[in-house]
């Protein structure tokens, strides 16, 4: 691809990642969450593959790494659910305890407090990791199997 495309991809890489992480980490407050946020970050992989060609896939760690990342994300999700077993499966043992993500939710309309939600932010992070890795993997496989090499 031309130098314009490459430069643009480098320029928007940081905003795209930051926006994706914002969507993931504010999943319990605003529309979004793990799935949309992970998708946003994965678009960066698509952009990089288009701009820099198949070689960029290897720099991301390749299929094995992304595949492991995907499993780790899923594992974390199920693990956090298991941690709630003190009450029930999926029990929210962190909410309203005052610790991390443990502030009680204010009553009435308010701008929202990131430090609430208990285990939900953790599950959003796990889902975000999983979706990012899985979608990147899909894009990578589709891209490496395509006949035309764009750059």
């Amino acid at each position: 691809m031309s130098i314009i495309v490459k430069t643009m991809v480098c320029l928007i890489a940081v905003p795209v990642t930051v926006f994706g992480l914002y969507v993931v980490s504010h999943g319990h407050l605003t529309p979004g969450g793990g799935f949309p946020g992970g998708t946003v970050i994965a678009t960066l992989v698509a952009l990089m593959l288009v701009a820099f060609g198949k070689g960029a896939g290897g720099k991301l760690g390749g299929r094995g790494f992304l595949s492991s990342l995907e499993s780790i994300g899923l594992f974390l999700f199920a693990f956090v659910a298991f941690l709630g077993m003190g009450s029930t499966f999926f029990g929210n043992f962190l909410a309203n305890t005052g610790g991390i993500f443990g502030d009680p939710v204010a009553f009435g309309s308010n701008p929202g407090n990131v430090n609430t939600g208990g285990v939900i932010p953790f599950m959003n992070l796990a889902v975000g990791l999983e979706v990012f890795a899985a979608l990147s993997l899909i894009i990578l496989i589709m891209f490496t199997h395509s006949k035309e090499d764009t750059p």
Binding site: A78, T88, F89
Partner: protein, 511 residues
């Protein structure tokens, strides 16, 4: 122990899920660790399911609200919230069958599949399918049912074509198209119910339906029932089954066979428990008719087949027909309940258990033959009984059990179905018995061709222990269930039939 039972419904679904996500990671440590993880997790789940079944049979319905402060807090303000799992005698029975088959199939698959890269992903799909089946058994609300339904579809389709052999892509594509269509039907039906009642909990909706129903409910029940018939592969939508049986790996076929029986269970759960007042004799007769046609079509199509796996696929369609014949008769004679209806229902439910065991045994034996001879096409193979006696015995036991010959379990359940269906219409019994005899003819032909005659000349691999053990366990279960059929019916089947006939217990578990 109490912890395991109290959290049993969630644990039985969660362990296969957790293992499915762990196995691709653990697979990097080596084949043995991966296999151990798969078998151990399924064995643990089997143990939990057993404990849970014992508890449910002794103490009645057990509910579990995910994320609540205590498991039994299902309806805090008289209105059901959260995802609720509900286990009664019926779902406990089916989950026990499904998990037993999943555990044995996982053992069988250890040596069946050539060691290849990416096997961790195959077992991840295998465990996801187990978890999906557990979820379909235990779920107490419609949307979760849809989610697990889709999990079963996607993981099955992935496994059918996992090794990219032969025409497996075509089989997987066919299965996927049918499953996705079925999933959309189910989602549409669930959407109608949600719009109508503003909730998704099965027990709560059952309570509302009992108070009065509209035409919308009839539309929803038709959509949901057809979706589940797609999944179970009865007559009008049976065409995916022979293809899948022909092309998929043996362990996958056994799992898909079991998942179709789980689909039938969900159908019966919805027809009896949720829409018990709506599903009148018409629905029952429809199920009976579809079952009878399934028997005829399945057996007639099985006879001319030259491919053994494809033939077993058609027989599986006929076997589903027997279950539908029995349970449909139970549905026809539900209002008012009469003795032969209950007997037919018990027979149909007993046949679900027997069908899972018998079909699994005969299919695994057939695939073990393909494994030791190292051939996909078995047309030139004969006289194997001289060289591999255990396989011949296992195949013979499966054959006798499927054809309903005493003292096997197939005889017990088929007799219950025939003797009670006779009161509904004698012609149905005739169809059933003729189908059963033709199945015997079909399988005896195969048995003679494969195992009898001049000893097999070619090279033979040794049958691995991990294949013999599952087949041995299945044979023992088949013979025990056949010899102690009255005991099995009294302890397992009758409570399940009562659970279907008495929706109030299911509704009362939540509200």
């Amino acid at each position: 122990m109490t912890f395991l039972v109290e959290h049993g419904p969630a644990i039985a679904i969660a362990i296969p899920f957790l293992a499915a996500f762990t196995v691709p990671l653990v697979a990097k440590l080596g084949g043995r660790v991966r296999d151990g993880c798969v078998v151990l997790s399924l064995a643990l789940t089997e143990f939990v399911v057993l404990m849970l079944a014992g508890d449910v049979l002794a103490n009645g319905v057990r509910t579990y609200a995910l994320g609540a402060s205590v498991p039994s807090l299902t309806a805090p303000a008289g209105f059901p919230v959260r995802i609720i799992l509900e286990v009664d005698a019926m779902s406990a029975l089916i989950s026990l069958v499904a998990m037993t088959i999943a555990f044995l199939a996982s053992l069988f698959s250890l040596k069946l599949i050539p060691a290849k890269e990416g096997l961790g992903k195959f077992f991840a799909l295998f465990l996801l399918l187990s978890a999906g089946m557990m979820g379909m058994c235990y779920t107490g609300d419609f949307f979760t049912l849809f989610v697990f339904f889709e999990i079963v579809s996607i993981s099955s389709a992935g496994m059918i074509s996992f090794f990219r052999s032969g025409e497996s892509f075509e089989a997987a594509f066919k299965y996927m198209v049918i499953s996705v269509t079925a999933g959309l039907f189910l989602l549409f039906g669930v959407g109608i119910l949600y719009g109508n009642y503003g909730m998704l909990n099965m027990a709560a909706i059952a309570g509302e339906v009992a108070a009065g129903h509209s035409l919308l409910d009839v539309a929803a029940i038709s959509l949901i029932a057809s979706a589940l018939l797609f999944k179970s592969g009865s007559f009008p939508v049976h065409m995916w089954k022979p293809d899948v049986f022909q092309e998929a790996p043996a362990n996958v076929v056994v799992m898909i066979l079991t998942s179709s029986l789980v689909g039938l269970y969900v159908l019966f759960r919805i027809l009896f428990t949720v829409f018990g007042t709506v599903s009148t004799a018409v629905a029952g007769w429809l199920i009976v008719a579809l079952g009878a046609v399934s028997i005829i079509v399945g057996v007639l199509m099985a006879m001319p087949q030259r491919n053994l796996r494809r033939m077993i696929g058609f027989v599986a369609i006929a076997e589903i027909g027997y279950v539908m014949l029995g349970v449909g008769t139970g549905l026809v004679s539900m209002q008012p309940v009469n003795a032969f209806g209950v007997n037919a229902l018990s027979g149909g439910l007993f046949h679900i258990v027997n069908d899972a065991l018998n079909m699994s045994l005969i299919f695994l034996a057939a695939c073990a033959v393909a494994y030791i001879t190292e051939r996909r096409d078995l047309s030139g193979v004969g006289g194997l009984a001289h060289r591999s006696a255990p396989l011949a015995v296992f195949f013979l036991i499966g054959l006798l059990a499927i054809s309903g010959i005493p003292p096997m379990n197939g005889f017990a359940s088929k007799l219950m179905i025939f003797e009670s269906v006779f009161f509904l219409n004698p012609l149905l019994s005739v169809i059933g018995i003729t189908g059963s005899i033709l199945m015997l003819a079909v399988f005896v032909k195969v048995f003679v061709a494969l195992f009898l005659g001049t000893p097999y000349e070619g090279k033979l691999r040794k049958t691995p222990k991990t294949m013999l053990i599952p087949m041995f366990v299945l044979s023992v279960l088949i013979i025990l269930l056949g010899l102690f059929a009255p005991f099995a019916v009294d302890t397992l089947i009758t409570p399940a039939a009562q659970a279907l006939l008495d929706p109030q217990a299911y509704i009362g578990g939540v509200i």
